[in-house]
């Protein structure tokens, strides 16, 4: 059974500039929601969340009692929160079982960041807000954090992830919102609707280069040069060896143009050059990413329903 929890947050303005609009949110129980925005809005949002009695907020800079061992820390939290449900062996799902006697100041920063989430397991509040859960984590730790988030979801807790990194929340959450001055916008629903309409269009002449605009200049790129293409709020950007070039074409037009060149629509808002894909990363059974082999290390989200198609193209 799922039920909805509603939250209202008043708007916040500084000298007439709306920093954050008033928001009304309806959250399903047991789902992971991502909210993408800039740091100022997110800071305001976390402050509002933390004053709500239904919400537990896990800040990114929450500290530790460095002189305690992990075991002592957990028994302290158990005393503090007195959780009614037994979580089995928390250390195993945190993958810290071999470190239970280690003092907290001896842990690596990735391990500390993982351990931070233990607060979300201990408290009983229905909504858990976590600020930047995946920031600066290596792949192994990201996978553990993803599993932790899924076990929170299994406990019928609503998890809200706040991040200013779109890629991270796209693969971690069930639904993603974008906080703008105009309000909380669900991401990319519009894009999907138009996709069905434009499917049957036939383009008589194929102009192969991709026009982009930068500094008032129009630059044309050969498709094989492109790493991937991202659409954020209707603005389509072409990524090419770490540089971004905005283009006026829509993602659907680009998809049609580029499919013959070995490009693949791996996500509602991403098209990736398959020639540059180095690795398919499996976070959990439902979330995947593509790691690109480019000058900088880039990771592009891969939706679950596109995976089947991709496997067919690759031939596995």
């Amino acid at each position: 059974m799922t039920s909805n929890i509603a939250i209202t947050i008043d708007s916040f303005a500084v000298e007439g500039n709306v920093i954050s609009p008033s928001i009304e949110m309806q959250f399903e129980e047991g789902s992971i929601i991502g909210i993408y925005s800039d740091v100022a809005k997110l800071n305001f949002l976390t402050k509002q969340f933390s004053s709500n009695p239904l919400i537990h907020t896990e800040y990114r800079d929450n500290g530790f009692y460095n002189r305690l061992t992990i075991n002592e820390y957990i028994s302290f939290l158990k005393g503090l929160y007195s959780p009614s449900t037994e979580h089995g062996d928390l250390l195993t799902i945190f993958e810290l079982a071999d470190k239970k006697k280690a003092r907290l100041h001896n842990l690596s920063s990735a391990e500390k960041q993982r351990l931070r989430l233990i607060h979300c397991f201990m408290n009983e509040k229905p909504i858990q807000v976590i600020e930047e859960p995946l920031q600066n984590l290596d792949e192994h730790s990201k996978r553990i954090v993803m599993n932790l988030l899924l076990s929170l979801k299994k406990e019928q807790k609503t998890v809200i992830l706040l991040s200013n990194n779109m890629e991270e929340i796209l693969f971690a959450s069930d639904s993603v919102f974008r906080l703008e001055a105009s309000g909380l916008q669900p991401l990319d629903v519009k894009e999907e609707e138009t996709a069905a309409l434009e499917k049957n269009d036939i383009i008589p002449f194929r102009f192969e280069k991709i026009p982009t605009k930068r500094n008032e200049k129009i630059i044309l790129f050969n498709p094989p040069e492109i790493d991937y293409i991202e659409s954020v709020e209707g603005q389509v950007s072409v990524y090419l060896s770490g540089e971004t070039y905005p283009t006026s074409l829509t993602l659907n037009e680009l998809e049609q143009k580029l499919t013959p060149f070995g490009f693949f629509r791996c996500h509602r808002s991403y098209i990736v050059n398959l020639q540059k894909v180095r690795e398919i990363i499996t976070w959990t059974r439902n979330s995947y990413s593509l790691s690109l082999h480019t000058s900088t290390e880039t990771v592009v989200p891969l939706s679950k329903n596109k995976l089947v198609e991709l496997k067919r193209i690759i031939g596995i």
Partner: protein, 233 residues
């Protein structure tokens, strides 16, 4: 108020305190002072309290202040406040630990300095009330400090006023204004200790005890009001 939470905070702070040598070695200060004064010989009641009054500041107030300041320094106080533990649970858990540490330190230093009071019960009561006052003072001090470093600086004026205040009385012949130091809790406890060694009346006992009690009530009142004000936001 929840005993499990208070116990959890007590145990956590005990472990943190015992492993933080910068703070925990402070308990040695009054003990060493007591040993030295014992060797040099003591002729007045003022002398017996030479290790006791600094112990109240250097151990009781300082440790309490450091425990809270360190939570602020590491951003752990915020998550503690967001947990089900109330402000009262947090302060009580810490205060109980500090009280235990101070009680052991002060009993040991009284023993080491060679002081044998005529009436343990009355002196014990005054020492207990003083401990309550100095814990409150440490808590109040932590409100204005954000790191252990700041706490060690902030403790200095308190040390000067409360530990060495009774010495100002000796200058009061020359500067009558210093007579006011008589009403410090550290001076009152010496007056009390002096009177229990002789034939005493009820007033001799009640005045110092009530003075210390008033100091504790005022300190804790301000502490709680200010904490409620600053911790809410």
């Amino acid at each position: 108020m929840n005993l499990t939470r208070i116990h959890a905070i007590f145990m956590k702070d005990y472990k943190e305190f015992s492993r933080n040598y910068a703070v925990s070695t402070m308990v040695l200060l009054p003990l060493i002072m007591a040993l030295i004064y014992n060797q040099t010989g003591i002729e007045s009641m003022q002398g017996y309290f030479l290790p006791v009054n600094p112990a109240f500041v250097a151990v009781t107030s300082f440790v309490q202040c450091c425990l809270i300041a360190e939570e602020k320094e590491r951003n752990t106080l915020r998550s503690l406040m967001l947990s089900p533990a109330t402000l009262f649970d947090i302060l009580l858990g810490k205060s109980l630990l500090v009280f235990t540490i101070s009680a052991i330190t002060i009993i040991l230093s009284v023993y080491l300095v060679g002081y044998n009071p005529a009436n343990w019960l009355i002196l014990g009561m005054a020492l207990f009330l003083s401990a309550v006052f100095y814990i409150g003072l440490g808590t109040l001090c932590a409100l204005f400090t954000k790191t252990i470093l700041e706490a060690s600086v902030a403790i200095l004026p308190i040390m000067l006023i409360f530990s060495f205040g009774p010495f100002a009385l000796q200058l009061s012949g020359k500067y009558p204004i210093l007579q006011i130091a008589e009403w410090l809790p550290s001076a009152q406890i010496i007056l009390l200790a002096e009177s229990i060694e002789q034939a005493y009346t009820a007033t001799d006992i009640m005045v110092p005890i009530i003075t210390i009690l008033v100091w504790s009530i005022i300190t804790w009142f301000f502490t709680i009001v200010l904490y409620k004000k600053t911790m809410v936001d």
